[in-house]
Symmetry: C2
Subunit: 231 residues, 2 copies
DNA sequence: CGCGGCTTTGATGTTCATCAAGTAAAGTGG
DNA sequence: CCACTTTACTTGATGAACATCAAAGCCGCG
């Protein structure tokens, strides 16, 4: 973890386009004063569950995972977030403490804005608040939707679903390196490591995908679609 | 379904205390002009999935369920909502159409406020917006949290969990009438009707609960707690 | 009165987790 | 840089948890 001496500022940030268009220049400068850019190495913990929520976080570069740990210490990955995802949205405005942990899956840069300064802007700028609300709802909706979909599928359907998700939503191509281990895939789609491996092997034997370590090559995307849909 | 000619208004409503404390009197009167009170009989559909979101809904009286239907037409109950729950929160500000259906489990009265009038207030009143945001986050967090918890338990744990939930969160006593059928319990905690019945019978035989049709009487609440926790 | 939906119990089969055991890969410390 | 340890990956065998199928009684409703 390393705090970056950033020369950039919110109002000139190329990423502000997404959400912060509803903020005035003054407001952007204001929150910029409470902003830090922090770099995390692969594997580093960004937020620990139960930490107090003191910041509004968003991901500028990299890839992170959000994890919930249950009473039996079993981990479940809630979501994998890419740049521009507002990674702390699930807890930021509801709880005083985080309900999950956040870990970097690759070298990542996070913008951390002091929570109180964000709240100040929200209180004063209802248009921005509305925009942010829609963003929060969309994020949580996505997580809920995905969770239900996955849990209704059988194991083969889950693997198909997640491979398609990586191909379409994260990497935008049919060949990519998995950013997570087999075990983590299991935590993401609720199955054991052994079965993740078994079914990946099945898909390989059936000629649906090619595997070389973490590298995945989707050969028959229509088959995957079918398996994913049929459950 | 019947529109009630209500003599009451938002600013005198006893329920405004929860959320609408952050609205001014003028604002309350304003949204009141776009407000309808609607009564639904048990079993009536309040919102159908894919309906356009035109209103902000909250439950004044009764009990409702939120249902998601998947591609295989399998239903899953997302949540059961009591009065003061803002039943449409999950979709209201994120989608143009509802992602789930809402059905009355008993005779219910719903306040329906025109969405645009609500948005007007949000845009002008950031303090209210912040309050609403926290409410949205709490609702979705609860749903997510419950979903993960339930899915990590085995069947006996799920039944124990849901019985305790009804006793503690809905009826506030150890004897109550189930508002839903065995099949619906299955849809709520992700198991088949047969197994819901089977495990309820087991609990009965073990003297943990008494059952008479829809009436449930919890005899050994500590046992239920234990079963719920141990998974 | 009969029909469909809800409830119940038992029998059967499938899906999946668990256990075991071994190989490969990746850190770690001297 | 090499021995050592740990972590990731892989395959097979076993058993448990759960869904599915089947059959019958019950109740409310047209």
């Amino acid at each position: 973890m390393r705090i970056i001496q950033s020369k950039s500022a919110c109002n000139t940030c190329t990423l502000k386009s997404l959400l912060f268009t509803k903020m005035s220049n003054e407001e952007l400068q204001y929150v910029n004063g409470f902003r830090q850019e922090i770099e995390f190495e692969k594997g580093e913990i960004i937020i620990k569950a139960n930490d107090p929520v003191k910041e509004f976080l968003y991901l500028k570069k990299g890839l992170v995972k959000l994890i919930k740990t249950d009473l039996q210490n079993k981990e479940r990955i809630i979501s994998i977030a890419r740049p521009l995802d507002f990674v702390s949205l699930l807890s930021t405005f509801s709880d005083t403490n985080y309900g999950y942990s956040i870990t970097a899956l690759e070298k990542s840069v996070v913008c951390s804005i002091g929570l109180e300064s964000m709240k100040d802007v929200i209180r004063k700028n209802g248009v921005f608040a509305l925009e942010l609300m829609q963003q929060i709802s969309k994020s949580t909706n996505f997580v809920l939707q995905a969770t239900y979909e996955i849990d209704n599928k059988q194991l083969r359907g889950r693997i198909a679903y997640i491979l398609l998700w990586f191909a379409k939503k994260i990497y935008h191509k049919n060949s990519f390196n998995l950013p997570i281990s087999r075990r983590e895939i299991g935590e993401l789609i609720n199955m054991t490591t052994e079965n993740v491996i078994r079914i990946l092997s099945e898909f390989r034997k059936d000629g649906i995908i090619k595997i070389d370590g973490k590298n995945i090559n989707i050969e028959k995307i229509d088959m995957l679609e079918k398996i994913s849909k049929s459950g």
